[in-house]
Symmetry: C2
Subunit: 401 residues, 2 copies
């Protein structure tokens, strides 16, 4: 992770789950693909910590040194477990592929280690309890690590960690900035060390996490209800979920419950809005699809946006957004249609609206609304992500009416 | 970053640029929102390192403690710089918003620090040269950090770091697995310590980075050409770019050069394919848009897929993928159309194809081809990302014919 461009989601996932068990994460260390340096960090970590989790470096490629480094740090031998390499070979066969010879060494196991099964990939993990501490080796790919940790590590951890009750509340919020949210709720959460409050912001989507830790369940529930209730009262209907569900899932539930259907008409987002809506498993129950109309002709031909509207107001206008949403709804017969048009940048050509301008339209049984906003410009990826969030937020508000 | 779910892209960005200057990154440390602990890590880092980069914790919210921790570690005072808080207020005004009062403290500056301007957000950075080392404080949001580092830190670093020539080659590869790629090229790259070779894999998209470091430019260019040439010969036409351009940009360049146009017809990806194609700035020059047909009726009505095809072969079939691509091409008149259908899971209902099955169709001037693959199942997000990559790869191969 020191030289790679790979994104580190693993340590965040591990931290959250360890915290939930009451295990404090005191440090994270990232070291290069150097056997001695990795072994050194492990030895240092074992001085201060009861658990050392290591992720990555179990793959078959030449720079995967984790197993060797752990064996070196603990002064233990490794042996090939033929059952593991056979299972890896089997996995390749299921995908109609031949196992490359280098994958065989993924079957090496450190003396005394319990093997952690990998149901998402080829490399198994290892759990080495030295008596005074545990060293766990997990695979690097996040989907493999998450599954392995949940199935194999959590049950082992629960047996080793002293009991205390942890309860969490996750409020999800849309339609306000991080600064505004914090200014509103800081007077409450700064008065409490327990629960611990964390505010997360990602592309205009906000989360407030409260985590209480108490001796009894009754205490934990009461404290969480008290502090959580105060925060909920301050944020009001900007809260769209209380159970971790993302906005697209909440929208899906509302549409499904009312037997309604949804289509999209996207310009600036180019598919990003449909991608989010359809990311919810089972989305075909409410999402029919829609239209990516990235130029004028697609807008007129497939959504019936009048050429005069495009000429007079431009593609980035409330009039066009409204015509796009209406057209998508009428031509498909869906209950709801959401449109997005805008200028994501990085540059603007001629008469278009300023970079960062995003306009969404929501067409539904009771009419059509539009909403315009200018996001901070300069980052095309972010403006497009903001645009999809803004469209979902606008739709959600209409669905709540 | 210890308790948050935020993804750490900053340290990877910094590492890459520091490496390119010949600065080795010896460690990364992540510590919680605790003033003393942060200050402690800074002091420890200053013992071994000439540069200490700190990112995050400059925002206005209550847990942003970085400035205080650095001041504490260096034993320096902080003062409010009214010019900075005025500039922040101005920025809010430009977005038609009132600056929340808590943003004012983003104008606090550590004694002796040079202020690093932030053109993407409110919090300025700071550069403190103690004589023996440099401590730089950068904002947390990646788009802010990247801009600030490039504009403000790189020019300062170049003056402080001894000269040596670094040259890099970035090969991008699609259509083979990480294992297969490594097995093919390891015999070459393992023979060299210089260049350093790194293989990155992300959703079936592969990158091979070679970085040479030499005393003279001529040496660097010659060495890179030698080793890079050997690797290119082994990977062949699976290489789609040699300059860092992603697959969607390479496709865009090919379409633009031939004055061709592209539409999509997406089922399983639900917009993710269009999102990638349109992520390239200026994509409207070749990308017209397309159709998200997430149910049978959308496929028959807007793409003209025969009901008999859906009934006989199912929505996840080569026949449907072919009809989708042909329909999108014919109805829009675009030069090329790409379709994706499949079952991304997590579950399958009734007669659909197994989870992980993805079929893409490419329709162009010389006919239509389809391609079927079964990806490892179990992760809807990943299967959908694989599907978009597979569609782009199939299109790219046709464009290269």
């Amino acid at each position: 992770m020191l030289t790679h461009k790979r994104v580190d989601t693993n340590s965040l996932f591990l931290t959250e789950h360890l915290n939930n068990l009451g295990v404090e994460v005191v440090a994270k260390h990232v070291v290069g693909d150097d056997r001695n340096r990795i072994a050194g960090e492990i030895l240092r970590a074992l001085v201060t910590s009861q658990f050392v989790f290591i992720s990555g470096g179990l793959g078959p490629t030449e720079d995967d040194l984790t197993r060797d480094a752990v064996a070196m740090a603990l002064g233990r031998e490794q042996k090939l477990d033929p059952a593991i390499s056979d299972a890896i070979e089997q996995r390749f066969r299921q995908m109609n592929r031949v196992m490359p010879e280098i994958n065989r060494r993924q079957g090496m196991v450190i003396e005394g280690a319990e093997v952690l099964s990998n149901d998402r990939g080829t490399a198994p993990g290892q759990w080495i309890d030295t008596g005074s501490a545990v060293v766990a080796i997990l695979p690097g790919p996040p989907h493999e690590l998450k599954s392995m940790f949940t199935r194999e590590c959590l049950p082992r951890l629960v047996k080793l960690v002293p009991y205390s009750v942890i309860r969490t509340l996750e409020l999800r919020i849309s339609g306000m900035s991080e600064s505004d949210l914090d200014q509103r709720i800081a007077p409450v959460y700064t008065r409490y060390e327990n629960p611990v409050t964390t505010i997360l912001a990602h592309n205009a989507d906000m989360q407030v996490h409260l985590r209480v830790r108490c001796d009894t369940e009754a205490e934990a529930i009461a404290l969480l209800a008290d502090v959580g209730g105060q925060i909920e009262a301050l944020v009001g209907d900007r809260i769209y979920s209380r159970n971790g569900d993302p906005l697209e899932a909440v929208i899906g539930q509302k549409l499904k419950a009312t037997n309604s259907s949804l289509v999209v008409a996207e310009s600036a987002t180019g598919g990003g809005l449909g991608e989010r809506i359809s990311s919810v498993p089972g989305a075909s129950a409410w999402f029919w699809g829609g239209f990516l109309t990235y130029n004028h002709r697609m807008k007129t031909e497939f959504l019936g946006v009048p050429e005069a509207t495009l000429r007079q107001f431009g593609a980035v206008s409330k009039e066009t957004a409204e015509a796009m949403a209406n057209g998508a709804r009428e031509r498909t017969g869906a209950t709801w249609a959401v449109s997005v048009t805008g200028n994501a940048g990085p540059t603007t050509d001629g008469e278009e609206a300023p970079v960062g301008t995003i306009i969404v339209g929501v067409s539904g049984p009771t009419g059509t609304t539009t909403l315009e906003r200018r996001w901070p410009s300069g980052d095309r990826v972010r403006v497009r992500a903001f645009a999809a969030q803004m469209a979902l937020d606008a739709l959600h508000r209409e669905l709540c009416k």
